[in-house]
């Protein structure tokens, strides 16, 4: 019980979730981890109609990180609800659906169609760097971020989490706009926009030219933003970006995150989400701390 948290009404056994796009919808990893031990599974970005994603090469490696330009390949919301969601009922883990609309109306419609049993919450992806319409554009402007949140809010009673883009001058103002518009929590960060070039062929390595940078390389940026946002909003903050170990996760908790999500780490260690939760528990036990919430936001900046 020392790890159990309640994020905007979503009850999780541990504060360690899996990040959208890195864990399928869960069963893909069931051979490796007990899904029932994960805080919450955030499924791949879901859109109104099926999407094939981007053409060409979709990932590239960079120092301590990776770029991706998947481009929101997914079978569409109806297929998700009718075919994938029922299979997840077998597991005792909250399912949060990451949604991406090309317009505010699409976000609202997605929220409506996903307000069904089995869905524990919605994460609004207003920060995808890999699609032409919508995506990151919503996440770089306070007014449009607020409009998306408000539209979703009107269409669902589910907890709403807004996922913020780090590719902005002032992430705090976007977080505040999302909170004011009714978001129950914010999650950050999505990927940093990046690029890599194949110097033999004089071409971008990725089919989509640009891609999103994730992995340990971005951890210091993610941690900084979580710290900035957590001091500025009242709603819970979900921290992610480069978390590979329990120690990384504890940094995010101390910086002000009430829960964390593990993304790229799943590819390296498929048991990461569970091992990180175990590591947090060990840390608490060693220090005689009763509950993980006692870490949240406790970094002391007055040196």
């Amino acid at each position: 019980m020392m790890l159990a948290v309640d994020i905007a009404g979503i009850k999780m056994k541990t504060p360690v979730m899996t990040a959208s796009g890195t864990f399928g919808s869960g069963p893909e990893y069931a051979d490796f981890v007990d899904l029932n031990k994960i805080g919450a599974i955030v499924v791949k970005g879901t859109t109104l109609t099926p999407r094939d994603g981007n053409r060409g090469r979709r990932i590239a490696e960079t120092p301590a990180g990776m770029l991706n330009c998947i481009g929101l390949e997914n079978p569409g919301v109806d297929e998700f609800v009718s075919r994938i969601l029922p299979g997840l009922a077998a597991y005792d883990v909250p399912i949060i659906v990451n949604i991406a609309g090309a317009t505010t109306d699409e976000f609202a419609e997605l929220a409506r169609r996903l307000s069904v049993p089995g869905v524990a919450g919605l994460e609004l992806n207003i920060s995808c760097p890999n699609v032409k319409e919508g995506g990151i554009a919503f996440g770089t402007d306070c007014a449009s971020a607020a409009a998306v949140v408000a539209a979703v809010r009107r269409n669902t009673a589910l907890p709403v989490i807004t996922k913020l883009s780090p590719n902005v001058t002032d992430i705090v103002s976007i977080a505040r706009a999302a909170e004011d518009a009714g978001s129950d929590a914010v999650s950050l960060i999505n990927t940093l926009l990046g690029m890599s070039i194949d110097i033999r062929r004089w071409r971008p390595e990725l089919g989509n030219v640009l891609g999103g940078l994730s992995g340990p390389a971005i951890k210091p940026v993610a941690l900084r933003m979580v710290w900035q946002v957590a001091r500025a909003v009242k709603c819970p903050v979900i921290g992610l970006g480069g978390i590979m170990t329990a120690n990384d996760a504890i940094e995010f908790l101390l910086a002000g995150a009430s829960a964390v999500a593990v993304g790229t780490a799943n590819f390296v260690n498929p048991r990461a989400s569970v091992e990180i939760a175990e590591g947090i528990r060990d840390y608490l036990v060693e220090r005689g701390i009763k509950h993980v919430s006692e870490l949240v936001g406790r970094v002391n900046e007055n040196i």
Binding site: M66, M244, P270
Partner: protein, 256 residues
């Protein structure tokens, strides 16, 4: 059969040819479950650079002893790091991953080029004692050290080289029609460059022989979770190379 993560211990690790290494790992649970065409997803270092695992086809399996063998070309940072591991070291492996070949054949023909021959080696062994014919291509005879590796497990081996330095001059697809003329194969398995696999699949279709091919793509998760590796199926639906493949029926993914 379930997939696992396990530390395989390096049993044997040596050079088969310049820049080509053969690595045998003690990994009993993976060895027990492995099917020809499947791969292991290997972590090549402890640190974060490189970060991702490397997919390598399972080229041989010793179920009794509990060993798997991979054969790989050193092409970049990851394979170079792997190549430095001495016996006794551990290699973190996920596997066996992916869908393997359909073994339902009596007269199989295996067509391979380059490192595409690695999974076909496991396939050839698994098909024994059925009469396996292998057709292999390379640029020069230096690339066809593979022939020796296949000798013990094939009834007959046919070789092409681009420059004619060994076997027939030309590509495997040039020699293939002749083979199909002279012999009745009931299944063709192809693994190698996409262009080659397309050529083989087209000839197979013309002859009405069911054909399986094995795809490669850049992979992050290796288990169908990240969608790094998907391709279009001919039915309009997407396929994940890592988990729906890497082995596909040719007509499932190739417009012929």
């Amino acid at each position: 059969m379930s997939k696992i993560v396990a530390d395989g211990i390096v049993i044997e690790h040596f050079s088969l040819a310049p820049m080509i290494k053969r690595l045998t790992l003690g990994a009993p649970a993976i060895a027990r479950a492995a099917q020809p065409g499947q791969f292991v997803h290997v972590r090549v270092g402890e640190g974060y650079h490189p970060l991702l695992r490397r997919p390598l086809s399972i080229a041989e399996v010793d179920r009794e002893v509990g060993n798997i063998t991979v054969i790989y070309r050193i092409v970049g940072q990851g394979t170079a790091l792997l190549a430095s591991l001495p016996p006794g070291e551990f290699v973190d492996c996920m596997g066996p991953l992916g869908n393997g070949f359909d073994l339902n054949t009596e007269r199989p023909l295996l067509v391979g080029g380059g490192m595409g021959l690695a999974p076909l080696l496991f396939l050839a062994k698994a098909l024994c004692p059925k009469p396996v014919t292998a057709l292999m291509g390379g640029r020069t005879k230096e690339e066809l050290w593979w022939r020796n590796v296949f000798l013990g497990v094939c009834r007959s081996i046919h070789v092409t080289t681009d420059d004619g330095s060994m076997g027939r001059k030309g590509f495997t697809v040039n020699l293939l029609p002749e083979l199909l003329e002279n012999c009745k194969y009931d299944r063709i398995y192809a693994c190698g460059p996409l262009r080659m696999m397309e050529g083989v699949a087209r000839l197979a279709r013309d002859k009405g022989i069911p054909c399986q091919i094995s795809f490669e793509d850049h992979m992050a998760c290796g288990v169908g979770a990240c969608l790094s590796c998907t391709c279009a199926g001919t039915d309009g639906k997407r396929r994940k190379v890592c988990s729906d493949g890497p082995v596909f029926w040719a007509e499932e993914v190739l417009e012929l």
